[in-house]
Amino acid sequence: MQRSPTRLFLERLFRRRLVLIAALILLVVVVLAVFAPLIAPYSPTGMRVTQRLRPPSFTNWFGTDEFGRDVLSRVIYGGRASLGIGLAVVVASMVAGTALGLFAGYFRVLDAPVMRLVDAMMSLPDILLAIFLVAVLGGSAGNVVLALAVVYTPRVTRVVRSSTLVVRELPFVEAARTLGVSTWRIMTVHILLNVASPVLVQATFIFAYAVLAEAGLSFLGVGVPPEIPTWGTMIAAGQNYADRSMWVVLFPGLAIVLAALSLQVLGDGLRDMLDPKLRKSL
């Protein structure tokens, strides 16, 4: 009876099969990552020198790496780190970008200074800026999150700012103003709730980019230290053995592709649904 907009939204979103599949894949990846200690068959760091670089078998489904560690267990644990870093980047860039965008869009005096800064940052290639920041800050999981959050915050700022410019002129905002509702509440309730959808779309894309970028940074050796298993560090360490034992890079690579692709498809689905011109055909 009381169908909330959120529920209607989800119902319409999952009417598309591809989006549903992407969401299910993501669900599996997330469950694996969250419950890694319960699911992984071996320790991700347990070395068995006699079992080095074994091809996939019934005992080691994804084979073993150059130290005899189980690749499946490392992919599962690696998902923990990779998705964790991705999620942290998403949360950090969402919070910072939303705050900046709301202020820039709502208060006209802040618009020009904030947006010029954003433009300047967006003029630099993402990965280059991230490499520079990690090089300056030093390589650790926390610094990778910080660097990538700085890189992706401007994108969120742009989206939030442009949506805010539209929403702040709508009659219900004027209604709230003439009711005497505080500016803080207008921004956090009336505007934020109504710019949430495009931000959500952006969040899924940034999640995908962040997973890829973390892998890229780790691969280049300016990311997470190699002793922490992430999909990126696994590929970086395995590249020397890839010619003979391709499974050491294949499975973490597939994991990256699946996770990033699913996030992209989900983001596409969200975006199509929020675009009123495309919505009719759904």
């Binding site: 009381q2 907009p5 009659p171 003439t178 709730l193």
Partner: protein, 327 residues
């Protein structure tokens, strides 16, 4: 219904002027408008699109700032007040919006939409707040059980009722109704108009009723202010303005109202052309370019407001026109 003449008006506009933009794109939206709304009185603001009627409503509520002139609300000039200082006054004047879709936040439940008005002025909390929301819903003809629903679950007329409930929540002295029924179906229009009439009798608040529809205005208003291109053309009691319009523009407006009477003598197409651009309003009387009675003198000076007695004021130099308006 107008209060005694010695009583101070609830809100009074003095030489109110609003320009948008800057030269050469300066829009003269409202120019030197003076009128007042007494306590408990319903004043109709009528004019074509672009005549500045909505702008006047927004100026009174300080949703936009005045260019010059003053607005006196219950003895207090409010045109230069800070938004902070205005907050207690906001409780006393409320707006009902034209678009029942865009004027309600689609992400909030009805209880939150109405509750926001109660919260903003700290009028009730907890159970009293819920009871007040239920009471307000009943007043506007909705059910208390509707409080948990979202705007998209209602029809246009029901949404407008929610908007009215929100305005009533703070028990205002003045409601500015900006084309409150023009977005609704005709059958629903009547219901919402009846509701506004009932509320006005029940709570005795004053209303500034903005509309382009003379029939609606005439039904609900005590006095009428006729606007054209941001200027006042005529002010007077509803019956006399509609019954025997004194200004050529008012007469043209009345002649344009369709009547379901085949025998009625037709005065067709009194007005030709479009309303002039507010970027460059005509000199002198702004209506002269479309006025069938315009004289050369009309181009040289802005006609001053002329008191006709019987509470009527017009901005027209001609006093020799015999109008023939079948009513």
């Amino acid at each position: 219904m107008a209060g005694p003449m010695n009583e101070a008006p609830l809100v009074e506009m003095r030489a109110l002027t609003k320009h948008f933009g800057r030269p050469p794109m300066l829009v003269h939206a409202v120019e030197n408008v003076s009128f007042s709304v007494n306590r408990g009185e319903v004043v109709g603001l009528v004019g074509e699109s672009g005549s500045g009627k909505s702008t006047i409503g927004r100026l009174i509520l300080r949703a936009i700032d005045v260019t010059s002139g003053s607005i006196v609300f219950d003895g207090t000039p409010i045109e230069a007040m800070s938004q902070r200082a205005l907050r207690p006054l906001r409780r006393r004047m409320q707006m009902v919006f034209q678009d029942p879709y865009a004027s309600l936040n689609p992400r909030l439940r009805v209880s939150d939409i109405i509750g926001e008005a109660i919260d903003a002025h700290g009028l009730a909390r907890g159970a009293a707040r819920a009871a007040r929301i239920a009471e307000l819903l009943n007043i506007v003809g909705l059910e208390a059980g509707h409080a948990g629903r979202f705007p998209h679950e209602f029809s246009g007329g029901q949404r407008q009722r929610i908007g009215i409930a929100r305005a009533l929540a703070v028990e205002p002295d003045l409601i500015i109704a900006d084309e409150p029924v023009s977005a609704l179906d005709v059958s629903v229009q009547a219901q919402v108009l009846n509701l506004l009439q009932d509320l006005r009798l029940r709570f005795g608040m004053a209303m500034l009723f903005i509309s382009h529809d003379l029939d609606v205005i005439r039904l609900i208003c005590d006095r009428i202010v006729v606007l054209y291109l941001g200027r006042i053309m005529e002010i007077g009691p509803a019956e006399s303005v509609c019954g025997s319009p004194a200004h050529p523009y008012t007469q043209a407006l009345l002649a344009a109202v369709p009547r379901p009477d085949p025998d009625r003598p037709r005065i067709r197409r009194m007005l030709h052309g479009e309303i002039p651009s507010p970027l460059s309003p005509p000199s002198g009387c702004v209506f002269r370019t479309r006025c069938p009675y315009a004289l050369e003198a009309c181009a040289s000076a802005v006609p001053p407001l002329r008191d006709l007695g019987d509470g009527r004021v017009i901005a027209c130099v001609r006093d020799d026109i015999e109008f023939d308006v079948p009513v």
